[in-house]
């Protein structure tokens, strides 16, 4: 349920209502890299837990100290209980960090017969692919999300998404992987492995000899046969892979899922956020709202940058006012930053008036403990 996104007049993103709603089962935090996505996901999860929901947070690449504070020093690819959470409301918090390779291995083991699975896991091409394939991280994040949901041990799953330049990668990567696995190249590569190669020959008769010749020349014979073995083994698992990717994608369109788009008040981050918001609308995926992180504020908002600079100029000749003059210059700089950020935020809201927004002030230090996460949670929920 995402009541907020259907009320165009509601501008303030009401985080607590979203987190408290028993119908909210999955919250996906998206946004371009470097906007505080991981921190936002962790803060939302902690807040939900302390408001009484049994919550698990799936993080992708947390900063080391934040990971330590949540007991995530070790990669074990399964959720662990976070110590220090206030559980008096009946909630709890588990956390896990995604281990991409292990998740991929698990998928292989789940879908292939044991002998084939062992052949895949030993294949050098698989070993390269499972750690570096574009989209592997996104695909595996979705896979893990599907697993956690299927386990049904939590009221709420909060997901952080992989750091990428474009927030859309999270949605597109699994499809890209799927289309690669279904693609012509794979069919060509697997052709010799299929019985008699008859279907394969019809498919590729035109250029196949030249093609494999070229590949052998370029890649060396060993690599090509590694690729062919791998793809041959993968071929038998195609159905399983595609089905799972489709199921997880459908999960994201389910009303029990809500997307939270995270941005910072910078042109690139807000442009990415805008793309993402439009894409969610296009795909019928429910949007909760926009979290605008690292917004600057002033203690003296009525004193403009121009007034400060002019007063500082006035004081420049008087050494006894050097502190005041410098303070006014600092204030002027701060006001210019605030003006720029507010202009960017207004531009986003004008273009996307139905998207509720919540602003989180810039903190002096990075968040690296539960208290810090609680503070972020407070700012997320504070009445604007």
């Amino acid at each position: 349920m995402t009541p907020l996104s259907t009320q165009p007049r509601q501008r303030r993103f009401d985080v607590d209502t979203l987190l408290d709603d028993p119908a909210t089962r999955i919250v996906v935090c998206c946004g371009s890299g470097g906007v505080g996505k991981t921190t936002t996901a962790a803060a939302l999860a902690l807040r939900a837990a302390e408001r009484g929901r049994r919550t698990v947070v799936l993080t992708i690449d947390p900063a080391r100290r934040l990971a330590q504070s949540m007991g995530l020093d070790e990669l074990d690819n399964s959720p662990r209980t976070v110590v220090g959470v206030d559980e008096t409301g009946g909630g709890s918090l588990d956390a896990m960090m995604l281990d991409m390779k292990r998740t991929f291995d698990e998928v292989v083991l789940a879908h292939a017969p044991p002998d084939k699975a062992a052949a895949v896991l030993d294949n050098p091409f698989y070993q390269a692919l499972s750690t570096s394939f574009t989209g592997t991280q996104e695909y595996m994040a979705m896979e893990k999300l599907g697993q956690l949901r299927a386990q049904d041990s939590w009221d709420l799953i909060v997901v952080d998404t992989p750091p990428s330049r474009s927030a859309l990668d999270f949605l597109d990567a699994p499809a890209r992987l799927g289309s690669f696995l279904d693609g012509r190249l794979i069919r060509v590569l697997t052709a010799p492995a299929r019985a008699g190669g008859r279907a394969g020959f019809r498919l590729v008769s035109a250029g196949f000899g030249v093609f494999t010749g070229a590949l052998t020349k370029v890649l060396g014979g060993d690599l090509l046969s590694d690729v062919q073995t791998f793809v041959g083994a993968l071929d038998s698992m195609f159905g399983g892979f595609r089905e799972r990717a489709e199921q997880t994608y459908a999960l994201l369109q389910n009303p029990e899922t809500t997307f939270v788009v995270v941005a910072a008040p910078e042109p690139d981050a807000l442009r990415e956020a805008a793309y993402f918001v439009e894409r969610l609308a296009g795909d019928g995926m429910p949007l909760g709202g926009l979290v605008l992180n690292r917004v600057h504020t002033s203690e003296v908002p009525a004193l403009t940058a121009a007034q400060s600079v002019s007063a500082a100029d006035h004081l420049a000749e008087s050494p006894e006012h050097s502190l005041a003059a410098a303070s006014l210059l600092l204030h002027a700089e701060r006001m210019r930053v605030i003006d720029r950020e507010q202009r960017l935020a207004r531009r986003f809201s004008t273009a996307h008036p139905s998207v509720p927004v919540v602003e989180v002030p810039a903190f002096a230090t990075d968040v690296h403990d539960l208290d810090g996460l609680r503070d972020v949670g407070e700012s997320l929920a504070k009445e604007g």
Binding site: S132, F211, L323, T365
Partner: protein, 342 residues
């Protein structure tokens, strides 16, 4: 001061948002000053150099984008992965129609969009080719190459991709090529520079990134500390504010002397409130300076020389690139004459 007399390939990395594209462009201008030829290479398809140099989007071709101080040319190249794969195959294998067959089969798309390892092979391969290319005089075609490389978290893997290639291929022309590329990247002719700002996460990534580069035997050049803002506060006032002490009376007196107390609707109470507000902002600023000083100390302890560049109030435009380039020269950055022939 830095000494890069022998460095011909400068690889610039850094956490996203720290300004590595700007630093790359300024470094190219600094190296080109005094009549040298420098090539800027872009590998992430963002057309960042085109917008910095006010040029239309760069095609897959080396284009002159700027003239450096005292004569000297900066060229830029945005490597397009699909074009690069074809060019690479033609260059090393003379594939002819097999190249087209690869294209039809979707192999190029596979190579360039799906498998990042292969993409990285192409990007490093093209950069290597440009670095090794000979000009008409028998020396190198470019005195220096500056690459705007992937971010710190990915750069070691990116530069090391040819190591993986040598392990995967074992023999053959690709193996030999990959071996030559690794030799160049690990030689004193290469330096990897890491750009950072004085914040906790970028500094941590810088430390981690340099450890990874070092472990991979890739030569680290300098740490570029970017966007440094000197404090406008007089030193004693800054030190006092860092321990929480600000003379609020002096702020109030300044507001009055600066005629701000005479603004319409001002009251004595409001002047007090403004003075208190400014005090809070000064404390906040001093706190940030303290954190920045801590980060600066961490950076200094890592080892490589630091090059500090200021945050320019006017933002980044073509003019400010020259300002930053001059600052780099003031800190000892010099180009190397690679075209005289050896």
């Amino acid at each position: 001061m830095v000494d890069w007399e022998r460095v011909r390939l400068h690889i610039v990395t850094g956490k996203g948002g720290t300004g590595k594209t700007t630093v790359s462009a300024a470094l190219a201008l600094a190296l080109a000053a005094g009549g040298r030829r420098v090539l800027l290479v872009e590998v992430e398809g963002r057309q960042g150099f085109a917008s910095l140099f006010d040029s239309p989007p760069l095609p897959y071709e080396e284009r002159k984008v700027a003239v450096a101080a005292d004569g000297g040319d900066v060229f830029a190249l945005a490597i397009d992965a699909q074009d690069a794969v074809l060019e690479y195959l033609q260059m090393y294998y003379r594939l002819g129609r097999a190249g087209k067959a690869l294209d039809r089969m979707g192999a190029l798309e596979f190579a360039t969009t799906i498998a990042p390892g292969l993409r990285d092979v192409l990007m490093t391969g093209k950069t290597y080719e440009a670095a090794r290319r000979r000009g008409t005089g028998g020396g190198f075609a470019y005195d220096a190459i500056v690459m705007d490389a992937p971010p710190t978290g990915r750069v070691t893997r990116f530069l090391n991709v040819n190591e993986e290639v040598t392990e995967l291929t074992r023999v053959g022309p690709i193996n030999r090529q990959a071996d030559s590329i690794m030799s160049l990247f690990r030689s004193p002719a290469t330096a990897v520079h890491v750009v950072t700002v004085l914040e906790e996460m970028p500094v941590q990534e810088t430390a981690d990134g340099i450890a990874e580069l070092t472990a991979a035997r890739l030569p680290v050049g300098a740490i570029v500390v970017n966007q440094v803002r000197p404090s406008p506060l007089p030193e004693p006032a800054l030190v006092a504010a860092q321990s929480g002490s600000v003379d609020t009376e002096a702020l109030r007196a300044g507001l009055v002397a600066g005629d701000l107390a005479d603004l319409p609707h001002m009251t004595d109470d409001l002047v007090d409130a403004w003075a208190a507000g400014l005090r809070a902002e000064v404390i906040d600023h001093a706190h940030r300076v303290t954190l920045e000083q801590e980060q600066a100390e961490r950076l200094a302890a890592i080892g490589p020389p630091l090059i500090t560049l200021p945050k320019l109030a006017e933002g980044i435009d073509l003019g400010s690139l020259y300002t930053l380039a001059q600052m780099m020269r003031d800190r000892g950055v010099r180009g190397w004459d690679g075209r005289a022939g050896r």
